[in-house]
Subunit: 144 residues, 2 copies
DNA sequence: GTGTAATTGCAACATAGTAGCATTTGACGC
DNA sequence: GCGTCAAATGCTACTATGTTGCAATTACAC
């Protein structure tokens, strides 16, 4: 719908992955790019509305699925059973994450995943490792 | 309901944590002790039924919550959004876990959690770390 | 045995996500 | 620009997983 959607970094990213340039797709990716942390489906929906983007719940789910499938975004499940989405900056987010066990917030941490030396049972195939630090975030630690 | 529920390891464990010895509680813990892996609420329910233990869905949820609160069991969330429960053998399961991204199965791995040297943002409090290995389990790798 | 708080069972509710299908639209060739 | 058509959308239902409120039951201390 914008005159030149390709002009934005979001549009470029989407096009680079062979996806159609749709209003919701671009808007969602812009939200993810602007966010400093992983966001839930709901949080993204609220952000879209704030940006004046009318959208459907299901379309948003499908848009997020597409972004993940295309490798543009990554998805992780929080202790609150909600999936959170973020831009996949370099590969499938090979960095540790912090999960706030109070509010569910997830933040990406700097630094590489530690080298793992764990032996798997026979026949098991390893795809990737994930290091989670669980605790309480700054705002939850203060607040009630 | 059994004549001497204290006689079983399950009964002993529950009593040691100051909990009332109820039929479902003992039966659930026995299922967890017998399982070689973490089980979902549903899988535990099926196991109970197979053992002839009539039970209520909600009671099972509450029983599992109690076991986790008492530190007898631990709970983790899988990529399929289902919580899985296992006996907490030594502390809050300080060992790595393997998650099958195909069927959701979770298995506890031997070995200790690697020492982590990640710096958290200011004000964040770290409670525990969790190392997840993602991949495909042996049965999923064979089967369709 | 009795009293009482913990536990259960049931029905209703909540949240997060998925499926089917008719309608709309982005991209492509002209 | 214009027609074509698969990809994407917007609905409406539906599923899976877990929670709440409350009256009835039960384990256990006495
Ligand atoms: Mn990340
Ligand atoms: Mn474990
Ligand atoms: Zn928090
Ligand atoms: Zn599997």
């Amino acid at each position: 719908m914008p005159d030149h959607p390709h002009a934005s970094p979001a549009g470029t990213l989407i096009a680079a992955h062979g996806g159609r340039l749709t209003r919701t797709r671009v808007a969602v990716l812009e939200v993810l790019l602007a966010a400093g942390q992983s966001l839930t489906h709901d949080e993204i929906g609220v952000a879209l509305s704030r940006n004046g983007i009318k959208h459907d719940r299901v379309t948003l789910y499908r848009t997020l699925d597409w972004l993940v499938g295309a490798g543009v975004a990554h998805r992780m499940i929080g202790n609150d059973r909600a999936r959170r989405f973020g831009v996949a900056v370099s590969g499938p987010h090979e960095h540790p994450h912090f999960h706030c066990d109070r509010c569910g917030k997830v933040v990406c941490l700097e630094g590489a995943q530690p080298a793992v030396a764990v032996s798997l049972p026979g026949g098991y195939r390893l795809d990737r490792t994930e290091l989670l630090l669980h605790g309480v975030c700054a705002s939850c630690d203060k607040g009630p």
